[in-house]
C-alpha cells in the first residue's frame, strides 16, 4: 500500500486524471443512489421500529400493489392475525384551505384511520393522537392532528393551540394533537395535518357548512368498489414478511369469495414499507434505473479510460514487473501489487467523489422545494451512500485495474536481461485498442442516450395537444378551500366569467372542472 501510494505520487498527472475521472463517475452514482435510498430504502423520519412496518394494499393480477376500499380495510383490520395494528390512509396528501385566526392558506393534509399514529409508532409532541371512536363512520369527529412543522409555522409552537378550532375548507376542526418533530407522513408525500377518514369523506362530499353535517358520511366508506386507501401494518414480533403475505392473501381470497361483485380479480398484497407509495414504485424504480444506467455508463467510461492509462503505464513499467517476477514474485503477487494501485486510485477517487456528491446533493436538495408537489425526498450522504461508494470504488478498481494487471503479469521474463523491452508485440496493442474501442463505444452510447433524452423532453414540450394554445391564459381557482358552497361557487364563476369576457381583447372565457394537463384541479380559463 505504501509503495502504491508512493508510486502514484511519483506520477501526479496520471494520478490526478485517474482520480478525477473516478470521482466524477462515483459522484454521479452516489447522488442517484442517494435518491434511490430516499425513495426506497431509508425509513421516513419519526417512525419507530420501521423494520416491522409494511405497506398493505389491494392487488390485481399482473399489477403492483395499489389502493383498496375502506370496507376491505376494515375486514382486514378485524380478521388479520399477523399485525399488532394496521392503519389506513390516503397515499397522497391533498391541498386544503386551512383557516387559522381568519387567515386562510393552502395546506396539505391526508385522511387516516384513528390508529395511524399508533401503528406508525409516532409520539405526540403536544396533545394526543386520535382517540378510539373518532373515526367511526356513524359519528365522525371533526378533529385534526397537526404536523410539528405546521404547528411551529402557524402557532409558533404554542401548546395552547391544542383545543383551538381551525377551519378546513370552511369547516371547523378541533386541534387535538401535534405529531413528533420531523414526522410528515409514512411516505414521501408530506402532510401538514391529518384528519380521520370519515371526516375527510364528509368534507369532500361537500356536506354543508355546519359541523353537524359532517355526520353525513359519504357512500365511499361503504363501497368495496371504491379503492382509494392504502394501509400500514405493524407486524407482530416474530412474524415474517412471508407469513404476513400468506395471511393477507388468504384474507384477500376470502373477501373475493364473500363479495364477488366488487372484489372479483382483486386480492390483498403486502410489501416492506417504502417511502414511495405502492402505486408509484414501478415508475419511480424505472426512472431511477434509467438514471443509474446513465451514471453507470459514465463510470464505465471512466473505467475504460483509466484501464487504458494503466495499460500504457504497465508498458512503461514492464521492466519493473519483469524484474519483480525474476526476483521471485508470483503472478498473484504482481496482480495484487498492481490492483493495490488501482484500489488506491479508486479509493482516492471515491473520497473525492463523495465530496463532489455532497455538493451535488446540496444543489439538488435546494431545487426540490421548488417543485409544485407536496413531496419530501431528502437526499443525503448517509452510511448507505458511503458504503455504496466504497463498493463502487472496489468495482472500479477491478474493472479498470484487473485486465491491465493480468496483462502486466504475463511479462516475458527473459526481457529482464534486455535493455530494449519497450516493444511488447501485437497482443498488448490489441488490448490497448480494445480499451479505446470500448471507451469510444460507451461514449457514443452515452451521447446518443443523452441526445435522445433531450429530444424526448423537447418533443414533450412542443407536442401538439390537438387544439391551439396560442393566446390562452389559464388560472386556477379552488373556492372550496375557502369554504364556498356549491351555489356560491357557481355564482362566483358566472360573475367572474362574465367580467373576464368584457375585458377588451378577450375573445372568450370558459370554466372547466379539470384542465387537460392537470387531472386533479378545478380550473377556470379565459382566452
Amino acid at each position: 500500500m505504501k509503495y502504491a501510494v508512493r508510486t502514484l505520487l511519483n506520477s501526479p498527472a496520471f494520478s490526478l486524471v485517474a482520480i478525477v475521472s473516478i470521482a466524477i463517475g462515483i459522484a454521479g452514482n452516489a447522488v442517484i443512489f442517494s435518491a434511490a435510498d430516499a425513495l426506497f430504502l431509508r425509513a421516513r423520519p419519526g417512525i419507530s421500529d420501521p423494520g416491522r412496518l409494511v405497506d398493505v394494499g389491494g392487488t390485481r393480477i399482473g399489477r403492483a400493489l395499489d389502493t383498496m376500499s375502506y370496507p376491505n380495510f376494515v375486514d382486514l383490520r378485524d380478521r388479520s392475525r399477523v399485525f399488532d395494528g394496521i392503519a389506513a390512509y390516503r397515499p397522497v396528501a391533498e391541498v386544503f384551505g386551512l383557516t387559522i385566526n381568519g387567515s386562510a392558506q393552502p395546506a396539505y393534509g391526508t385522511a387516516v384511520s384513528g390508529n395511524y399514529f399508533q401503528v406508525a409508532g409516532v409520539p405526540m409532541t403536544a396533545g394526543r393522537a386520535f382517540a378510539a371512536g373518532e373515526d367511526r363512520i356513524e359519528s365522525p369527529s371533526a378533529v385534526i392532528v397537526l404536523s410539528y412543522q405546521l404547528w411551529d409555522r402557524r402557532f409558533g409552537a404554542d401548546p395552547r393551540a391544542i383545543g383551538r378550532v381551525v377551519r378546513l375548507n370552511g369547516r371547523p376542526f378541533t386541534i387535538v394533537g401535534v405529531a413528533a418533530s420531523g414526522f410528515a407522513g409514512t411516505n414521501v408525500s408530506i402532510a401538514d395535518f391529518w384528519i380521520p377518514i370519515p371526516s375527510y369523506t364528509a368534507l369532500m362530499a361537500n356536506a354543508g357548512a355546519t359541523g353537524d353535517e359532517l355526520r353525513g358520511a359519504s357512500e365511499v366508506l361503504n363501497s368495496r368498489a371504491s379503492v382509494w386507501l392504502v394501509a400500514n401494518g405493524r407486524l407482530k414480533q416474530g412474524v415474517t414478511l412471508a407469513q404476513a403475505k400468506d395471511d393477507v392473501a388468504r384474507l384477500g381470497r376470502d373477501l373475493e369469495r364473500e363479495y364477488p361483485e366488487d372484489n372479483r380479480g382483486r386480492g390483498i398484497g403486502i410489501e416492506r414499507s417504502r417511502p414511495v407509495p405502492p402505486a408509484g414504485r414501478t415508475p419511480a424504480a424505472l426512472f431511477v434505473a434509467l438514471l443509474f444506467a446513465l451514471v453507470f455508463l459514465i463510470l464505465l467510461i471512466a473505467c475504460t479510460n483509466i484501464g487504458g492509462m494503466l495499460l500504457a503505464r504497465g508498458m512503461a513499467r514492464a521492466k519493473d514487473v519483469s524484474l519483480r517476477m525474476a526476483l521471485g514474485a508470483s503472478r498473484e503477487q504482481i496482480v495484487r501489487l498492481l490492483l493495490t494501485e488501482s484500489l488506491v486510485l479508486s479509493t482516492a477517487g471515491a473520497l473525492l467523489g463523495i465530496g463532489l456528491s455532497l455538493l451535488l446533493i446540496r444543489l439538488m436538495s435546494a431545487m426540490i422545494p421548488a417543485l409544485p408537489l407536496p413531496v419530501s425526498v431528502e437526499l443525503r450522504l448517509d452510511w448507505r451512500v458511503v458504503t455504496f461508494s466504497g463498493a463502487l470504488a472496489i468495482v472500479t478498481a477491478l474493472l479498470s485495474g484487473l485486465w491491465p494487471a493480468l496483462d502486466a503479469s504475463k511479462h516475458d521474463l527473459v526481457s529482464t536481461f534486455r535493455t530494449d523491452v519497450a516493444a511488447r508485440g501485437p497482443r498488448r496493442l490489441r488490448l490497448r485498442h480494445a480499451f479505446v474501442v470500448a471507451q469510444m463505444a460507451l461514449s457514443v452510447l452515452l451521447v446518443v442516450t443523452a441526445l435522445l433524452l433531450g429530444r424526448s423532453l423537447h418533443q414533450a414540450g412542443v407536442i401538439d395537444p390537438g387544439f391551439s394554445m396560442d393566446s390562452v391564459e389559464a388560472m386556477r381557482l379552488d373556492l372550496q378551500l375557502g369554504g364556498y358552497s356549491d351555489r356560491a361557487v357557481r355564482t362566483f364563476h358566472a360573475d367572474l366569467l362574465s367580467r373576464i369576457a368584457q375585458i377588451p381583447g378577450v375573445q372568450s372565457a370558459r370554466r372547466g372542472k379539470r384542465s387537460t394537463f392537470d387531472p386533479q384541479s378545478f380550473r377556470t380559463g379565459a382566452s
Binding site: 519493473d320 525474476a326 526476483l327 521471485g328 508470483s330 503472478r331 529482464t416 535493455t419
Partner: protein
C-alpha cells in the same frame, strides 16, 4: 569436482517466429559445482544470455534436462519456478535493474518480501547485506541518487541477501567504468571466497579470467572450457 549444483544435459533452445526457427542453444551439457566460480564467455549473439535465462529459470529449454540442487527444474510450474528463483537464485544484471521508486533498503528487501519472511529477519539480512557491499550508509537513498558502481553494489546486496544457492551475473560490469568494474569483480571474488557459487556471463576476457573456469560458447554450442591456472 564437488557434487554438481547445476547440471544441464543435452539442452536445446529454439525460438520460433512466424517463418524463422532460431537455434539459440544446441546440445549444451554443463555442470557447475557448489562453490564454483564459472564464467560463460563468447561473442554477442552466441547464446550466453539465453543460457543464463535457462539457468535462472526465467526461460525453459526446448529440449534437454536441467537439474538444480538435485531437483529437476524443467517441468516446474510457473509458481514453483518463481519460488525456486526466489530461494535458490540471486541475479546481478548488467543494467543494475533497481526499482526507481524504492529506496536502496527496499530494493534489497524485495526478494525477501516475496519469500514471506518476517520483518525482523528481513531487516537483519538487508542490513548485513548492505554492510557487506559497503552501502549501509545509503540505505534510505533512491537509486537515482547513486553512481553506477554504487547501484551495482546494491544489486549485489539484493542478490546475496537471500543466501541463494547460486549467483547469476549477466555482464555485471557492462555499464561500469573500469574502476567500478574492477570493484564489482573484487566484490564477486570476495563472495566466492566466502563460499558463494557464481556463474557470470561476460564477453570481456579480462573479467572472464576472474573465474575458476570459463565456458566458451559459439553459435549456441559449448566450444571450449578452460580452467584458470592462477587467481587474480
Amino acid at each position: 569436482m564437488n557434487q554438481p549444483l547445476i547440471k544441464l544435459e543435452g539442452v536445446r533452445k529454439v525460438f520460433y517466429t512466424d517463418e524463422v526457427e532460431t537455434h539459440a542453444l544446441d546440445n549444451i551439457n554443463i555442470e557447475i559445482a557448489k562453490g564454483e566460480y564459472v564464467s560463460i564467455a563468447g561473442p554477442s549473439g552466441c547464446g550466453k544470455s539465453t543460457l543464463l535465462s535457462i539457468l535462472g529459470l526465467l526461460d525453459t529449454p526446448t529440449d534437454g534436462k536441467y537439474v538444480l540442487n538435485d531437483r529437476p527444474a524443467t517441468q516446474l510450474s510457473l509458481s514453483e519456478r518463481a519460488r525456486v528463483r526466489n530461494r535458490e537464485v540471486g541475479f546481478i544484471f548488467q543494467s543494475f535493474n533497481l526499482i526507481g521508486d524504492l529506496t536502496v533498503y527496499e530494493n534489497v528487501e524485495l526478494p525477501l518480501t516475496y519469500r514471506g519472511m518476517r520483518s525482523a529477519e528481513r531487516k537483519q539480512r538487508v542490513t548485513a547485506a548492505l554492510e557487506r557491499v559497503g552501502m549501509a550508509h545509503r540505505a534510505k537513498h533512491l537509486p537515482s541518487q547513486l553512481s553506477g558502481g554504487q547501484q551495482q553494489r546494491v544489486a549485489v546486496a539484493r542478490a546475496v541477501c537471500g543466501e541463494p544457492s547460486i549467483l547469476l551475473a549477466d555482464e555485471p560490469t557492462g555499464n561500469l567504468d573500469s574502476k567500478n568494474g574492477e570493484a564489482v569483480m573484487d566484490l564477486l571474488k570476495e563472495l566466492h571466497s566466502s563460499g558463494a557459487t557464481i556463474c557470470m556471463v561476460t564477453h570481456d576476457a579480462r573479467y572472464a579470467s576472474h573465474a575458476e573456469r570459463t565456458i566458451h560458447l559459439f553459435d549456441g554450442r559449448v566450444v571450449e572450457e578452460s580452467v584458470a591456472t592462477s587467481s587474480h
